[in-house]
Symmetry: C2
Amino acid sequence: MKKILKYADSNMNRLVSELQTLIRQPSVSAKNEGIEECAKLVKKTLEKSGIKSQILRLGKNIPPLVYGELHSKKNPKKTLLFYNHYDVQPAEPFNLWDYPPFSAKVKGNKVFGRGSADDKGELITRIKAVQAHLKVNGDIPCNIKFVIEGEEEVGSPNIGKYLRKYKKKFSCDGVIWEFGYVDSKNRPIVGLGMKGLLFVELIAKESKIDVHSSLAVLIKNPAWRLVDAVKTLRNSQGRILIKDWYKEVTPLTKTDLKIIKQEPFDELVFKKEFKIKNFVGNKKGLEAKKALVAGATCNIAGFVSGYIGEGAKTVLPGEALVKIDFRLVPEMDPKKQVQRLKKHLKVNGFGDLQIKVYHGEAAARTDPSEPFVSQVRQAANESYGKSILNVSNAGTGPMHSFVQVLKAPCISIGSTYMFSRIHSPNEFARIDLLKKTTKCICLILDKFGKT
Amino acid sequence: MKKILKYADSNMNRLVSELQTLIRQPSVSAKNEGIEECAKLVKKTLEKSGIKSQILRLGKNIPPLVYGELHSKKNPKKTLLFYNHYDVQPAEPFNLWDYPPFSAKVKGNKVFGRGSADDKGELITRIKAVQAHLKVNGDIPCNIKFVIEGEEEVGSPNIGKYLRKYKKKFSCDGVIWEFGYVDSKNRPIVGLGMKGLLFVELIAKESKIDVHSSLAVLIKNPAWRLVDAVKTLRNSQGRILIKDWYKEVTPLTKTDLKIIKQEPFDELVFKKEFKIKNFVGNKKGLEAKKALVAGATCNIAGFVSGYIGEGAKTVLPGEALVKIDFRLVPEMDPKKQVQRLKKHLKVNGFGDLQIKVYHGEAAARTDPSEPFVSQVRQAANESYGKSILNVSNAGTGPMHSFVQVLKAPCISIGSTYMFSRIHSPNEFARIDLLKKTTKCICLILDKFGKT
């Protein structure tokens, strides 16, 4: 193992340069920008590192999935699967970036760019860890598989279909999730779950066009209507007011609570980073930690109506649009929740609003008592000197589909510094963490292969 | 007079072509786009028609005012002033225009373009009416003055200063207002008043940047905050809930009510034009007419926060902004109302919102018993065959400043078809109405000069 870790260490320049190449290929799934090109680039990157690769397709208008695999001579009976994604979030607003979002600027310990952390940085650590084993031993400790999709940032609408179609091809004994956070004290978080997500758009329309606002005495304003409608969805403490929204939710188990209590959370550092004074509903301590693990939200992700340019324009908008994401916790079924939302709007007199459902994804959690959990944790402790166990990430991923179809435990571990501004301007990856994570994955392969 | 009206008739091609030239010079005051260029073009247009003109300035960053004047030999003791503006509203959203907004496309009876009706179309009728008198008689029936400002569409923030500085130069016995509507039955509206306006921007800020929406469990969402804040401003019937908002408002007089009752208002045509089913608060008949004349509003003119592009982006916005215009009725003082709004937000727990006041303008009305009113009405009846008297327009203009400083009655009469989409895409002027209005102004000059 020493040789392997040393190889990973000495190979960092190549890792950074390959990461830069990946960042420089925009791949914004929300806009279908550069998706095909990036899939091809990822295939090439896998192959250059000695991993057999192919591009899988479901249909013409569905972004392809890049698959990679390599068989172990030593232990052909165990398979570890890496799930990652090659698509990125839109880079807007462009003007807030210090460097162009797809320029992959390296400055000191940081690689800047959209996708540098989420998820191209994570992906490259997995590839380079496999390569380190290969280069040193000419073999790997267990079979490995790569499932790299192109729609994670738009809610992975087709990953379930891919998983079902290629169920046999993707079969495995454990999944390393696409990311893992590292906290402000350089402790990697070994994550056992993800929240679900329901993303919807509500549209209010009134007059066929924007009109002069002097007519507001008579013509209804769709922006007002949308304000009135969304105001009914939650109270100022963040509690969702839709009937039965929390109906199926079960309380946290004793084990979960114990893990949450042990998990460190530096409120001050967190608040300082985002320059905020208080949390939603004035949460503090354990309540704040519990919210991150198990809190459901109703978040306005976007709102637009009327004239939003500079200066004054006395206009009565013809239309108003709001984008809302709901984070879901275990046992909330996205399909049921959509029906509840629709019913809520109807009952409250907003049945005329158009509702567009972008996607729904259920939450998922891996049992903390799985042996795979302690293997990953040990590798993390060795590589980082310490680690943190986490019941569920506050974010969303299609973990539910993996757990359901592949019946394998999923664990997230990775290189993403928790303040690395993913989904925001000036997203970056830290080179020191890319290095530690590559070595951590080397160790996971070793430990997993031995059992 | 016959000769003069005939001259106006035969001169329509030139009128339309000069209007096209004016439209083709964009002059968007909200963006300071083409303002200087348009002022020069208007000066040239006046001079070409035989009216002496000069450009007046208050300061470097204030749009200039174009002044024009001509003395009457026959009656040098009476002066009629034309108030107009050469600036236009922003043309966004561009994609909804059938022809480019500054191309001045003529199709059949219509001239399309931003400013075609509001206010370049109106301006050209005044200029051409003066020219008709000049060409036929070598004189005009009374002195005339033109005050053509460049900031009407951003609330005329400096017209008061111009009026006070050039009080003597602008002195007059009557003012023809910058526009006048013509209803769907080709009846021009002789308007005696304007509502006031208060335009503000409210900004909510929370985290320093947009962040990943998984953090919505802890970080407050400024879009939610703004929704909560604006929701307190009015009820769903349109009634403004700010304390003392209506305190100084006096009920309509008997004369006002009589005029309102006589005023025709075709609800069905109105609703069909805007494709709407019901009015705000389900108003009908006299109540709807009273609202147009004397209703105060709180209108969301623009709302923006977070990701408003295509598709899904799970973002928690760092900022949210709303633009609100309040229409004011007589006795509402914009300065007082700003204070009431600020107090309201503070009392309701929104003292942290940033408030930007764009401008305030009080309402104004001319006494229906003024002799000038019957002169204008007679001219309108002769030129259009009929006319309608109106206590106050639903829109806003700086009439209050004119009434206060110049102490002259103001009347609006003009060529703007009431569904000509001013402030909206595909704004147009009707050539038949431009012709009738030019002749109406010819007649007003004659009648006014005789008294």
